[in-house]
């Protein structure tokens, strides 16, 4: 007997989510088609799609006659024409917050990595070196970590940082005092945050207000022993100011998971510095976060199957409610 719903799955997804839907759905991977376009040409066969990066344009959605829900695996919705989805009564929802712990741990990993020279020491040993004095590190305990922004990821980062003995200071003009836990200091400017901290980690979205918010003035305030960590968005740091500060020894180092341009290219000037630790936007890329995304996206599909709207629905106001019936 055929299942009631047909669901299209992305190329890569942890199996736990799809497996949880087998009572009412049969799932087809996009890779079972020769090309993504072939799969999207067949979109009218599907009741739901769990989507990562496939482009769901107005043209594709116009043919999605049976489609009831687009469950984004992740947060960003740039690849989905939400207006077109709303016109066709398709629920669009996502999985916000599932990678907060992963990003927070990446932040702490970059901080430890920089302070203990893990990447350069590893390179040194592999090249046959053993110059221990060249890699003398610095303990984190007792240092102050400054957090720019105090949303979900920053709060997870603060909890871990306190757990390993760091003091926390925050700068977040959009955050109410009442929501700041006891034991966390608060300052009124980003430069002040940098001046008071041994390390500063960025946890803000990229907006006109935050673009290049970390420039020469903030890096100077952080100082020659200070390090900057970015697991948020490239562009918050003025990279050319950072390169200048590294060049002049005005800042101690940088742990960067995000860049103004991604990929940052074959000959980025940041590569000239051992005092930077670079990762390719891996903050949220863990098995654990991928499993949570898979499960939450699948849960969202089930919620729509049961005739309700997922909590993370982004086009709630624009939906023609009858279509849900």
């Amino acid at each position: 007997m055929s299942k009631e719903w047909d669901i299209l799955l992305p190329k890569q997804i942890d199996r736990s989510g799809p497996e949880s839907l087998t009572d009412f759905a049969q799932c087809t991977r996009i890779t079972e088609y020769e090309r993504t376009d072939d799969a999207l040409a067949d979109i009218d066969q599907y009741d739901a799609i769990i989507v990562r990066t496939a482009d769901l344009s107005a043209e594709v959605l116009a043919r999605a006659e049976r489609l009831k829900v687009i469950a984004k695996h992740g947060t960003g919705l740039d690849n989905i024409d939400i207006e077109a989805a709303s016109r066709h009564g398709i629920v669009v929802c996502n999985t916000p917050g599932v990678n907060a712990r992963s990003v927070a741990e990446q932040t702490i990993a970059l901080l430890f990595g920089l302070r203990r020279n893990l990447h350069t020491a590893d390179r040194h040993v592999r090249n046959g070196g053993w110059d221990r004095a060249a890699f003398v590190g610095r303990e984190l305990q007792g240092d102050t970590l400054g957090l720019m922004g105090f949303g979900a990821i920053a709060r997870e980062t603060a909890a871990i940082a306190q757990g390993v003995g760091l003091e926390i200071t925050i700068y977040d003009p959009h955050h109410a005092d009442s929501k700041v836990p006891a034991g966390i200091e608060r300052v009124d400017s980003l430069t002040e945050l940098c001046a008071q901290s041994d390390a500063v980690s960025l946890h803000a979205p990229l907006t006109p207000e935050t673009r290049h918010a970390i420039g020469a003035e903030q890096l100077n305030a952080l100082g020659s022993d200070g390090v900057i960590i970015n697991t948020a968005r490239g562009g918050i740091i003025d990279e050319s100011a950072l390169v200048d500060a590294l060049d002049e020894g005005l800042v101690g180092g940088a742990g960067l998971d995000n860049f103004e341009q991604e990929p940052p290219g074959a000959d980025n000037p940041l590569y000239d510095y051992d005092r930077v630790l670079l990762t390719p936007h891996l903050g949220g890329v863990t098995e654990n976060a991928l499993e949570r995304m898979s499960r939450r996206a699948a849960d969202n599909v089930r919620t729509v199957y049961h005739g309700a709207l997922p909590e993370s629905t982004v086009n709630r106001e624009d939906l023609d409610q009858e279509v849900l019936q």
């Binding site: 890569q12 712990r101 992963s102 741990e105 990446q106 702490i108 990993a109 970059l110 430890f112 990595g113 302070r115 203990r116 020279n117 893990l118 990447h119 020491a121 590893d122 390179r123 040194h124 040993v125 592999r126 090249n127 046959g128 070196g129 053993w130 110059d131 221990r132 004095a133 890699f135 003398v136 590190g137 610095r138 303990e139 984190l140 305990q141 871990i160 306190q162 757990g163 390993v164 003995g165 991604e262 990929p263 940052p264 290219g265 074959a266 000959d267 590569y271 630790l277 670079l278 990762t279 390719p280 936007h281 891996l282 890329v285 863990t286 098995e287 654990n288 976060a289 991928l290």
Partner: protein, 325 residues
Amino acid sequence: MSKEWNVLLPPVVHPSGPAAIADFANCTGIDEYDSTADALDDIGRYDAMILRVTELDATVLDGATRMKVLAKHGTGTDNIDYAAAARQNIIICNTPGANAQSVGEHVIGLLLGVRRHIHTADKHVRAGGWDRATYTGRELTGDTLGLYGFGFTARATATLARGIGLSVLTYAPRSTDDSLPDDVQRVDDLTALFEKSDAVSAHVPLTDETHYSISTEQLDALGETGVLINTSRGDVVDEQAIISALENGTIAGAGLDTFSQEPLGADHPLCTRDDVLLTPHLGGATEQAMARMSQRAAANIRTVYEGQLPDTTLNSSDCTIGLQK
């Protein structure tokens, strides 16, 4: 007026220790002599010595006629001939635990580094790559860390691990139950520690009993998602068994700060593996640990100067008349 005591210092020592005894001590660095041998030829004029790795054999110590105390900067004293020191009634003391926080932080840094592939990801970005899926990591939160041994460094590691959201187990046959924190569970067998843990970190001295005590049986028990961390001594682990386990996928990775032969050398088979993070015996090598060791060694010299035995005296039974010297 000349100071009352002459104190010989190692070539590299944090200045805070010698500064703290400047009221009674005239300090001379070994590096002020043409060679270490020249300094040791002159040992007869010193009342005390802060000592790192300099070899003090019977020939040297037989000439140390004014010497009252050998203050080891660090823990291990295998470079001192105890019998010769006893003949001169010289007190031997050390600074145990001064680097425990540094080692604990290095363990957590290595564990995060291996789980998030930070060294290989950094190399990948610098080479112009951006293959994010290759570097999918794993969160620490909720995993179990097994500690082999429960001395100073394990204790510091346990505190950090719990702070970051790990559960902690220990196999420590010499620690009494009431010396363990409430939330550190004990297991009775080394292989069981590996079986029940997602990562295991070694914190035992190298003895006949611990030599090669981590081998194929333990690594099999750790399993294919498990990670081994070693900041203790290289030969606690059977290095050939680690290499085999990594080659066969029996374990996921390793973070190694100590090796059977140090320096490791570029030709060592570990040097070509991406699933290991290698550092050149840096566990205790931080500014803070160096400062603490210097200050505690100097404080031990002051204690002897004031006619007392330091708490960390290692040969008190040999030094019954040392204080009357």
